[in-house]
Amino acid sequence: MSILKKSIIASAALALPFAVSANSKLEKMMKDPGQWVQQSGDYAGHRFSNLDQINKSNVGSLKVAWTFSTGVLRGHEGGPLVIGDVMYVHTAIPNIVYALDLNDNQRIMWKYNPVKGGKYPGGETMDRVISVMCCDNVNRGVNYHPNGTIVLHAADTSVIALDAKTGKEKWITTNLHSGTGKYGVSASTGSGQPFIIKDMVGVGCSGAEFGVRCNWTQYDINSGKRLWRAYSMGPDKDMLVDPNKTTSMLKPIGKDSSLKTWPGDAWKIGGGSIWGFYGYDSKLNTLYYGTGNPSTWNPVVRPGDNKWSMTIMARNPDNGMAKWLYQMTPYDEWDYDGVNEMILVDMKVKGKNRQALVHFDRNGFAYTMDRASGELLVAEKYDPAVNWATHVDMKTGRPQVVDRYSTAHQGEDVNTTNICPAALGTKDQQPAAYDRLSGLFMVPTNHVCMDYEPFKVDYVAGNAYVGATLSMYPAPGGTHLGNFIAWDADKGKIAWSNPEPFSVWSGALATAGGITFYGTLEGYAKAVESKTGKELFSFKTPSGIIGNFMAYSHKGKQYVGILSGVGGWAGIGLAAGLTDPTAGLGAVGAYSALSNHTALGGVLTVFALP
């Protein structure tokens, strides 16, 4: 899109009432395939690029156009944004944001680091924050608001609005800084993207492993003022639900729907974190997100459905009121967080046109719902190995749990074996893509089972509160730990499936070129034909890939970008340990000596045709 066209759109948008303008402007930008303006590409979470310069006949000759080293160790999830001629790249803790000038050899225009003097804006030290991060030091990326703001949700839960041009702080608010911890600190952390709707930005929270009660909080984009907060569990007024109007399985949820499902006040440390990828439908004016596991992991101490953990929530983003809820895994016994992405697709389901929501849950079922009404349409296993439930009862919406795999049924200090999927789920947060050409969903998956032994824990705020011992292994009958699959969300069937030696933890990107990109833990960036799964391209990036693919165009050329970086020990670490083989992977001293080596950190690799 030319600059002239952009400014016409901008001025046209300004003429409309303000609340509408930001939305429509951002939505217009999402339709421009040259830019990548939101983590998922668009509100619907399709992760589909309309660019087709790179296609199935030429993707085999794809080359590295340029790389950028973030200089930060550990896992790099999420992906960069492209707004106009500027790319925004984020990192794992300390959550640095870079603005790169695509017109000038990716020169760093500005660099922002929220950690100053070892401390995050909320006052926590970086070390303390790292100690309460559940699952590596990840961050799932920044987002953009058309008033010229880049928003970062930092690991200490600070929401930071930056001037997109200069990187200067516009405002900072620390979402959950008061905390409930014994140490006067919050055990909540931030890893999920900040989600822009109209002139608001919303954030979830992480930390269910630490006995927090999580929530979604919505802020004003211009001032940072808090607008509303909706807890995942607790009294109706805390959760922003209307007992008579909010529905589940098409029926009103009734009074105290959450409180009734917890023993005593266990809901106060009930978990239900929110850190996945979210969806928004501007026509229905509805925000969709999923809540995570109930705390503690030991189910014996929290009999009941533990509502509304493990739930898809549909809310009015203006006031937070819930329209409908659907709990996928009542009384979770396996840590099957319901946080995974919400993909909004208008499609035929069982012969009827539907405004659908498709969700690949950690519990191994793929759900197709009517996103307007919350009606459950399809719930089928997307890995045949899934065994903890036989099926989902379509009348009640409840999974039919198999006693043999019920850790609560087996009891405390009993090792329940061969449960599929493992706690990390058939799929974790790594988002699937929707291929608009074939109508298939491109899904990165785990193929891992586990033994699970719950034990009693006493809660100390700010300390890990897991209460279960796990061991995991490949699903029976194979040695591979992952599959990359294509899913038919109408029929509830796998269209094709490519085995991968490791779990696929990178987000997928489908394109109008008839190809889908994904990455592997060995670091291979791959392209497959979307219709068949046939591998067309493979390139080894410097580290394992857990980031999400994105695409943009610059000066008429299509580019595809991916962050790699799992941190820890790369091949480089193996070499470092060489002179003391018995030290093996524990040679931390040698490792720190390598800190100046760029290959240690996360690397953005950008591909283009030669």
Binding site: C134, A422, W505, A575, A576, A593
Partner: protein, 113 residues
Amino acid sequence: MINKLLVSSSLILATLLFNKSHSNDFPTLARSEFVFACMSSNASNRDFMAKCSCAIDEIAKRMTFKEYAQAEAIARLWEGNSPREEAFKSVGLSKDRMQKLFRAQAASELECF
């Protein structure tokens, strides 16, 4: 005499098997990266350039690049302690690959240092 014959024929057999299963297929980039890291953690001089080059060549003789890349991925994950990393500490594939890597590393240590 018979013993010697047995030994030499099994050596030949071993050599044949060895050549068949190990294609010595490491890309130069992977070797360079290893040498660079090995020199960085030991000493950046000509002596260690030779030793480290020797080491990666010895490792490359003993495993395929695919196996090495998998071992590398597992090694990275072993450092973490989140649930998803836990998955990789007990799996058979991890044990096999890491054992093979450690053996290759030990052999390269003997050959080159």
